[in-house]
């Protein structure tokens, strides 16, 4: 009886063949993307590229939470900026190697995620957003007052050191390929995470939370798990960023930074794997470009936000997926 009323998309007879070529096309797309990323530092400014990659990973981590569990965190700067401080401090003051320093950042961010998540996951929707915002503001004040962050000066002149003792990271290219590797690993972790049994449960929780409870899943723990995972990955991005720029400052723990990462995700496409990369690229480029035009960045950022929300909520990548070409390539956008 449903057939007259709901239009169910029945797969065309040639669907199997079509999806075969689409898979090839997608693989080709990914390969081209990878090659571009590998060659990019020879054409573009490496530090600029590294910044984009760091923010892209940050946005991907954020997206893991928003896009796949439906939780909008307005406090992710805490993990990004917090990890930057931890890594910078570990490397500069304790003399940790870069890899251990990054690990310190990731662990620190995960612990922060555990604490913030513990409070925030008690509520949903906009409450969740407001609580994470408030808690991250608290963390901001902590960073402002704690001695090891050096207040407004920030932790400066952080040595990049030698990766595994022999790769000299003060060479831009070495650093770039480390960042690229971290980014790709991060992306793979996220991909595995959402396409795993755990991810399946997350998806079902997002679909119908009460039902998931009644099936015996302790929803809070799954959400917390996803939250901590997202925090740790954001921390990975923040830790690496502090090595790239060789400093950690208050900017990265402000709530405006949380807003920026939301913008990147929204612009690129919530719930798409590479949307955040596109979004981060755009926002970072825009920030850099506007810096020399004398036009206030916040106004543009604000307008981009509003336009995105009003006109293309799926974001650039999402719109592409939903477009005819995107669908032909076998992409799917569902939110």
């Amino acid at each position: 009886m449903a057939h007259s009323t709901t239009t169910t998309t029945t797969p065309a007879p040639s669907a199997a063949a079509a999806s075969g070529t689409a898979a090839v096309a997608r693989t080709v797309l990914i390969a081209i993307g990878l090659i571009l990323l590998i060659l990019a530092p020879f054409f573009l400014y490496p530090v600029f590229l590294m910044k984009i990659l760091c923010f892209a990973l940050f946005a991907c981590a954020f997206n893991l939470l928003l896009g796949y569990t439906g939780l909008l965190s307005f406090g992710h700067a805490t993990f990004f900026g917090g990890a930057a401080y931890f890594t910078a401090h570990a490397v500069k003051e304790w003399g940790f190697s870069p890899e251990l320093g990054i690990l310190t950042g990731v662990l620190g961010a995960a612990v922060l995620g555990l604490i913030m998540g513990f409070f925030a996951i008690r509520r949903q929707g906009i409450y969740f957003a407001m609580i994470t915002l408030a808690l991250s503001q608290m963390f901001f004040f902590f960073c402002l007052q704690a001695g090891f962050t050096h207040g407004e000066d920030g932790i400066q002149s952080v040595p990049r050191g030698r990766l595994f003792g022999f790769i000299d990271l003060s060479q831009s290219l070495n650093m770039y390929y480390l960042v690229l590797a971290v980014f790709i690993i991060g992306l793979l972790i996220i991909w595995r995470f959402i396409n795993s049994p755990f991810g399946m449960i997350l998806k079902s929780i997002r679909e119908n939370e009460a039902r998931a409870v009644s099936l015996g899943y302790s929803v809070a723990r799954y959400k917390l798990g996803a939250f901590v995972m997202s925090a740790a990955l954001a921390g990975l991005a923040g830790g690496v960023k502090s090595l790239v720029f060789q400093f950690a400052t208050l900017t990265d723990v402000t709530w405006q930074m949380s807003g920026e990462v939301i913008l990147m995700t929204l612009l690129g496409g919530i719930g798409t794997l590479i949307g955040p990369l596109v979004g981060a690229g755009l926002v970072v480029t825009l920030g850099n470009y506007l810096a020399t035009t004398g036009f206030p960045v916040t106004i543009i950022t604000g307008i981009v936000f509003m336009v995105c929300v009003l006109l293309f909520r799926r974001g650039i990548v999402g719109e592409f997926y939903a477009s005819r070409i995107g669908r032909k390539l076998g992409f799917e956008y569902r939110r």
Binding site: M1, A2, S4, T5, T7
Partner: protein, 233 residues
């Protein structure tokens, strides 16, 4: 009998799904008409389209001779169409009295509070408690009573007996009969066939977003076979 409500070739969509595929139907002044049909055939959608909650994209709705297709939702009530939704729509932040007083009066001749309380003594007793503290049946009474106060000419009732205790279903049947005596026109959607057959003058049978049959209450016995096949009653 003049038709108070005339519907011709009505087509409605929810987003991209086409739900009503050309509904034709009349409801005469003072008549009680019931739409029967299985789940999901579009009964509720029909009522919602007539009210204006769902916008029809094609077809014609005439009420008391006036074209209703372009009338915005918040104006339909003023023409005399009162809608009681499936889920009743009692407001929890308002008490019974406030719930009753909520819809603006659209025409003279609506029931006074006294008349309403006479018809539904339970409501009088609980007039100060929050609307959703009432039992399901009382909520249903409140939902009907609320519309009667506005002086509406046509009452659209969507499954008024769903989920109600049998004893309440009986009460509501009695109320509908009283209303009929007062000349109220009613368009009813009902799954509960037994109840429908007691209150209706005429039936439409709906399938796949269209009316597939129409008959008077007197013709029921000869139609039972068909109804059995379609509805399983």
């Amino acid at each position: 009998m003049t038709a108070l409500l005339e519907v011709r070739n009505l087509n409605s969509w929810y987003g991209e799904s086409h739900i009503l595929h050309g509904v034709d139907m009349n409801v005469g002044e003072g008549e009680t008409v019931t739409i029967l049909g299985r789940n999901g055939v579009g009964k509720t959608t029909t009522l919602r389209t007539v009210t204006g909650i769902v916008r029809a994209r094609k077809g014609e709705i005439r009420f008391a001779g006036k074209d209703m297709m372009q009338v915005p939702l918040h104006r339909t009530a003023h023409h005399g169409i009162g809608f009681v939704p499936e889920e009743r729509g009692i407001f929890s932040t308002l008490n019974v009295l406030e719930n009753l007083m909520l819809p603006p009066e659209v025409a003279k001749g609506g029931m006074t509070l006294d008349e309403i309380f006479e018809l539904f003594p339970n409501l009088h007793e609980r007039r100060n408690s929050p609307g959703t503290r009432l039992s399901g049946g009382e909520q249903q009474m409140l939902a009907i009573a609320r519309i009667l106060r506005t002086g509406t000419r046509l009452l659209l009732l969507d499954e008024p007996t769903e989920g109600l205790a049998p004893v309440i279903v009986q009460r509501i049947g009695e109320v509908l009969k009283t209303l009929k005596q007062r000349g109220m026109t009613v368009l009813l959607v009902e799954q509960n066939f037994r109840f429908a057959s007691r209150v209706a003058d005429r039936f439409y049978l709906m399938e796949h977003g269209q009316m597939v049959a129409e008959f008077k209450v007197g013709e029921l016995p000869e139609r039972m076979d068909m109804l059995h096949k379609v509805l399983g009653v």
